[in-house]
């Protein structure tokens, strides 16, 4: 049928079949801003459009329904280069992180303001409740309305001695994102690309006896099918970690034996996705069904089915794995003697905790687009580790690294899900073997069934003297790592490495074992084992303080590390190798705790009938990258007008990493951030960087930018000295892009003209690489007040206050955004997020209808983030990390508050209302 409608004031006439979704029609018309965050369930709202002035989901709309209508999208808001005032306000509010949800949020705000000039808080919540955002925590959206009313929202600024660092400046890619310009992998896919559909195993454990693709191959438009028969045989780990990875090499692109429901059986590349799917349904597979193993208990039985044998599970670092017993790895260690510590103590607490499989749900699912060009394999992808992906893909295909190029496009949220080579292995292989351009975009359902956070079972033993001095602290963690072992060692291990060093206790130990099961594959997730382990440790210590009848804060203050403390335990906490003991270079922990306690004491608990209130808090640490293992590099070049290009390998996931690098370089060179443009994360054009994980972006990549800028500074000074024929020591760089002596100065522009002219030394180019044996440790303390409805078991977080030591918050507003987002995620994890499986290992809640994530209405009424500014000798700009640590406190703080209100201890996530009710009833 023919339909005619107005799209952003332009009349459009198209021929379409009546059952086409408007979402797809708009995409074909080049409208980027309608994104697909769910499987067209109407849940995510990212596909929102204004239809005759009303906001609707374009995934719930068919072609005939827009006939004769007027459609507005974000593309219709800006006029040429001039942004709409709402777009501008989003940038100013610092609420654009990955930007995948931003266009929909902008439309929702516009739609509300079209209806009412002065919306109430309730109206704002209602207007934005239909758009999911996993990054921002929604909080700064309220500032958008303030800004639009003409009020200045003044964020506190830091580092008085700096001009750029510590100040609020716009995120370097915000304009592109609020306009919905080409940014994400899906925006760059050529129309002739083949679409991939992956046929997945319906069984948790089975051997493929035979696979027949002949029927599928005959279908017109089906161009390539990959099965275990023609798949590369290389074993590797998908884990995006520095080489040699502390994860077993136990995966193949397509295996002959499937190990969980969702494992790859075949991949079809065809002209359309629908066609690929139809063809996949024609593939005949003969399985030999094997007995599955779903729990650690089952996996550790002497006669348990073996999921991996030695041939398929190669352990490069030898970390105690025994695949014949379904053990991926085992490590233990510690300092002092737990036994001795317990003997000395007056009180002992030992408790067990568990946390479930949890999905990251980045709003943009995994996407990758690959093709061959000039004999090289080119991959555009949404990934956190482009350089590791280049290494892994070239290893799989037996290619030299210089034949593979990986370009990280904008990433619509990663949170650890995209740390691994999760789709590039497949997409790269198909592009290479078929020679055709191929595109794969996981559905939301696939996101839910193939990767998650591992299930951890943690037992903590803590002993203390009467006065609260801790004499022994031990952590015993068993991890259900699922079918394959990326991060099997490091996630549970990191939980110990980032909790034990909070305390000065002389007797500490850890014991970590990870098991293979036929469950979903687990891996990295923001916090990397610490949110769960810190929950267990904090709860145990809190309980210890209760039994000793001393305030929790007193117990903490008695045992906390401070600047200068020597962290002996770190030596025992290497990831598959010996660690390094470290003298604590800076520590704002006690300050964070004091600052927050002061605020929390002003909150009064009020009990009203069956609603009871309580307060709780918790502390945490994390790392800033992995010292001794990882590295980052940067290059900076001067352009002919004296501005700069900064090339970094770091992979910004929407967190503002590029802006951090840009600002540090600008500060160092005494220029405005605008004078530096950033190119990042393209393995052909930018230097190596480990990628964005382990909270390394700000510290490692930022420090590489610092070194490159410092080298550029030296180069500028030396070159100028040569030109002016003076000694370098007489030359200085002056603010605003000038260089010279006290008498004679050149502008950078002039310098560029001279150096790049025929008689110059050539373009000024400087590089910097960063490796370190020590990295600064970030700290935090979070505080909350909750209301528990004792009649229904419903818990509401009323107030939340977080204080962080992230050194200097280089981008104060973006740093806050990281914390808000992390808190909201953790609130979801604590109260309701959990993947559920039936007895055959099939996921029961693989969609947002049944696996809800926090929306704007879940925000506590009061939520604030504050910083304590801390100096650290390791780098001048002291960018300690902030993204992961912010996930570590909410859960214990909430559980402690619930205990204060009701006397119950909740030790197993999630605290769903019926669980709370049950605990209350059996009190």
């Amino acid at each position: 049928m023919k339909i005619k409608f107005k799209l952003n004031q332009r009349t459009v006439e198209i021929e379409t079949s009546p059952d086409r979704k408007v979402l797809d029609i708009l995409k074909e018309l080049g409208i980027n801003s309608v994104r697909k965050g769910c499987d067209e369930e109407g849940k995510c709202g990212l596909c929102s459009i204004l239809l005759d002035g009303k906001i609707v989901n374009s995934c719930l709309l068919l072609a005939p329904q827009i006939d004769g209508c007027e459609i507005t999208t974000v593309e219709g808001l800006s006029k040429g280069n001039k942004l709409h005032k709402i777009q501008q306000a989003f940038i100013e509010a610092g609420v654009v992180q990955c930007g995948y949800c931003t266009p929909a949020q902008i439309l929702a705000v516009k739609n509300l303001l079209d209806r009412t000039k002065n919306p109430t808080k309730e109206e704002i919540q209602d207007a934005l409740r239909g758009v999911y955002c996993r990054c921002t925590g929604y909080k700064q959206l309220y500032n958008v309305f303030e800004i639009l009313k003409g009020r200045k929202v003044k964020e506190q600024e830091y580092a008085r001695h700096y001009k750029v660092v510590g100040k609020v400046t716009p995120k370097n890619d915000a304009i592109q994102l609020v306009r919905a310009d080409d940014a994400f992998t899906e925006d760059y896919v050529a129309p002739d690309a083949l679409h991939i559909y992956v046929l997945k195993s319906p069984y948790p454990h089975a051997e493929i006896l035979d696979i027949d693709t002949s029927e599928a191959e005959k279908m017109d438009g089906v161009e390539f099918i990959l099965t275990h028969k023609n798949s590369p045989k290389t074993f590797y780990t998908q884990a995006g970690q520095s080489y040699p990875e502390p994860s077993p090499y136990d995966q193949q692109v397509i295996p002959k034996k499937v190990r969980f429901v969702g494992d790859r059986v075949a991949a079809v590349a065809a002209r359309t996705y629908e066609l690929a799917k139809k063809a996949a349904e024609k593939i005949k597979v003969k399985y030999k069904i094997l007995k599955p193993v779903f729990t650690i208990e089952e996996a550790s039985q002497p006669d348990a089915p073996i999921i991996h044998d030695r041939d398929t599970s190669i352990d490069p670092l030898q970390v105690g794995g025994n695949p014949k017993r379904n053990i991926v790895c085992h490590v233990e260690g510690g300092i002092g003697s737990i036994e001795k510590g317990v003997k000395e103590a007056d009180m002992l607490v030992e408790e067990s905790y568990s946390t479930p499989f949890i999905q990251h749900t980045p709003m943009e699912p995994h996407t990758a687009y690959a093709y061959m060009k000039n004999g090289r394999l080119i991959i555009h992808t949404s990934v956190q580790t482009p350089f590791h992906v280049r290494r892994i893909v070239s290893t799989i295909l037996g290619l030299p690294e210089n034949k593979v190029r990986v370009i990280k496009e904008k990433v619509g949220g990663g949170f650890g899900a995209k740390q691994d080579c999760g789709v590039e292995d497949l997409v790269g292989t198909i592009a290479y073997l078929s020679g055709k351009p191929v595109y794969y975009r996981m559905t939301r359902r696939e996101e839910f069934i193939v990767r998650c956070r591992p299930g951890l079972y943690i037992t903590v033993k803590a002993a203390a003297k009467k006065d609260g001095k801790i004499t022994a602290l031990s952590i015993n963690t068993k991890a259900d790592i699922g079918a394959y072992g990326p991060h099997a060692l490091t996630v549970p291990m990191n939980g110990c490495s980032k909790t034990l060093p909070l305390f000065t206790c002389p007797n500490m130990s850890y014991n970590v074992t990870s098991y293979y099961t036929n469950n979903i594959v687990s891996g990295a997730y923001q916090g990397y084992g610490v949110p769960q382990t810190n929950f267990a440790v904090m709860m145990t210590l809190y309980q210890l303080s209760q039994k000793l009848k001393i305030p929790f804060e007193d117990l903490l203050f008695k045992n906390l590390v401070k600047t200068g403390t020597r962290l002996e335990i770190l030596k025992q906490l290497g990831e598959g190798r010996e660690g390094l003991a470290q003298k604590l270079s800076s520590c704002g922990l006690q300050e964070c705790l004091k600052k927050g306690l002061k605020v929390m004491r002003t909150w009064k608990n009020k009990n009203k009938g069956h609603i009871v209130q309580g307060k709780g808090f918790a502390i945490a640490m994390q790392g800033s990258g992995i010292p001794g293992l990882d590295s980052a590099s940067a290059t900076i070049t001067m352009l002919s007008d004296g501005t700069f290009m900064l090339y970094i390998g770091g992979a910004d996931l929407g967190t503002g990493e590029e802006t951090v690098a840009q600002k540090i370089a600008a500060e160092e060179l005494g220029i405005s951030p605008d004078a530096i443009a950033v190119t990042a994360a393209d393995t052909d054009t930018t230097p190596f960087d480990k990628g964005s994980y382990a909270s390394s972006g700000t510290f490692f990549t930022g420090s590489a930018a610092y070194k490159a800028a410092r080298n550029m500074k030296k180069l500028i000074i030396k070159t100028t000295a040569d030109i002016l024929k003076v000694k370098p020591s007489q030359v200085k760089i002056y603010p605003g892009g000038k260089v010279g002596t006290s008498k004679k100065r050149l502008t950078f522009k002039k310098l560029a003209f001279i150096t790049q002219g025929g008689s110059g030394v050539g373009q000024l180019t400087a590089s910097g690489g960063y490796v370190t044996e020590v990295s600064p440790i970030p700290y935090a303390a979070h505080f909350c007040q909750v209301s528990v409805n004792t009649r229904t078991g419903f818990v509401k977080v009323d107030k939340y206050y977080a204080v962080h030591d992230c050194g200097i918050p280089i981008n104060p507003d973006l740093a806050k955004g990281q914390v808000y987002g992390a808190i909201m995620k953790t609130i979801g994890h604590t109260f309701y997020e959990k993947l559920e499986f039936d007895k055959n290992g099939r996921c029961l809640n693989d969609n947002f209808t049944n696996y809800p994530i926090p929306g704007i209405r879940d925000l506590p009424e009061f939520m604030e983030v504050d910083f304590v500014e801390v100096k650290d000798p390791i780098t001048p700009y002291v960018g300690k990390s902030i993204g992961e640590i912010a996930c570590n406190c909410a859960s214990p703080a909430i559980a402690i508050a619930i205990h204060q209100a009701t006397g119950i201890y909740l030790r197993h996530w999630p605290f769903r209302p019926h669980v709370v009710l049950e605990a209350l009833n059996s009190k």
Partner: protein
């Protein structure tokens, strides 16, 4: 495509020969389309029938077109005036994106035990008018997703008597903790000299269909509101709820929530009396 027709007048209904699946706002249907659940259906788009988008205020009744959306219910002041419970249900239903498309007719025909407009319509004594007949809402639902509608029978209007009654709606737990926590309560009554009259209570999402809580209604009839009465009513409602959960703790939870919501509604009303 053969499988898709559109009608723009009620009268055209007679011309349809094959059995069809009606398409109104599509918010229940479209999410199923993608999974191929409705592959063999023949669709009839009714969203263009103008006469079903109107709400008419008659002398004794409100006549609501089946295509009236939840957003219309919020925006048109007659709903707040004559059907407050329905208005309150629209306020908490879905997102603005969904409310702008979702119709009352679709919500009723879809017959989900958690359909938000249904408990209000129960307590407002609504009648459902189709192209063939008019029935009391009490007799309309047969089970989860089952109604008395025959093939190609179209809901055309919803008729609500214009009584001088108060009515309320409340639900708990959208989005939080799976769908399991969705429980809703609607109630309507007249308050005469502090005494409750003509009480109606309906519960959503605690049984195979929306339920009337008759024991609670009988208990409250003729009572003066007090803290004690409210508490007792909450207990009775909890016992009337019939959740069908596998896990015992979930069932207990839902019953408790139903009681808690009813108490909350009445407590709010009591505050107002005092």
């Amino acid at each position: 495509m053969e499988k898709f027709i559109k009608i723009s007048k009620l009268a055209d209904l007679k011309k349809i020969k094959n059995p069809v699946k009606f398409l109104a706002g599509g918010t229940d249907i479209y999410p199923l389309l993608k999974d191929g659940f409705l592959e063999n259906e023949f669709f009839c788009d009714i969203s263009g029938i103008k006469e079903l988008k109107e709400t008419k205020i008659k002398k004794d009744v409100l006549e609501i077109g089946a295509l009236v959306t939840f957003s219309d219910v919020i925006e048109n002041p007659v709903f707040k005036k004559y059907a407050n419970a329905l208005y309150e249900s629209a306020l908490v239903m879905g997102s603005p994106q969904i409310r702008n498309r979702a119709t009352l007719g679709g919500n009723i025909a879809n017959a989900s035990p958690s359909g938000d407009s249904i408990p209000p319509l129960f307590v407002l004594k609504a009648k459902i008018k189709t192209n063939l007949r008019t029935v009391d809402i009490d007799r309309f639902f047969m089970g989860p997703k089952k109604t008395i509608l025959k093939k190609n029978e179209l809901i055309t209007r919803i008729i609500i008597p214009k009584e001088q009654k108060e009515s309320y709606f409340m639900k708990v737990g959208p989005r939080k903790a799976l769908a399991i926590s969705k429980v809703s309560v609607a109630m309507a009554f007249k308050m005469q000299k502090g005494v409750l009259k003509d009480v109606r209570v309906a519960l959503g999402a605690v049984g195979p269909t929306v339920l009337r809580a008759k024991k609670t209604e009988d208990f409250l009839e003729g009572k003066h509101l007090s803290d004690r009465i409210i508490k007792k009513a909450g207990e009775i409602v909890s016992s009337e709820a019939m959740p069908i959960d596998d896990f015992r703790s979930l069932a207990v939870y839902r019953r408790k929530v139903a009681g808690s919501i009813l108490e909350k509604i009445l407590e709010g009303r009591l505050k107002w009396v005092r």
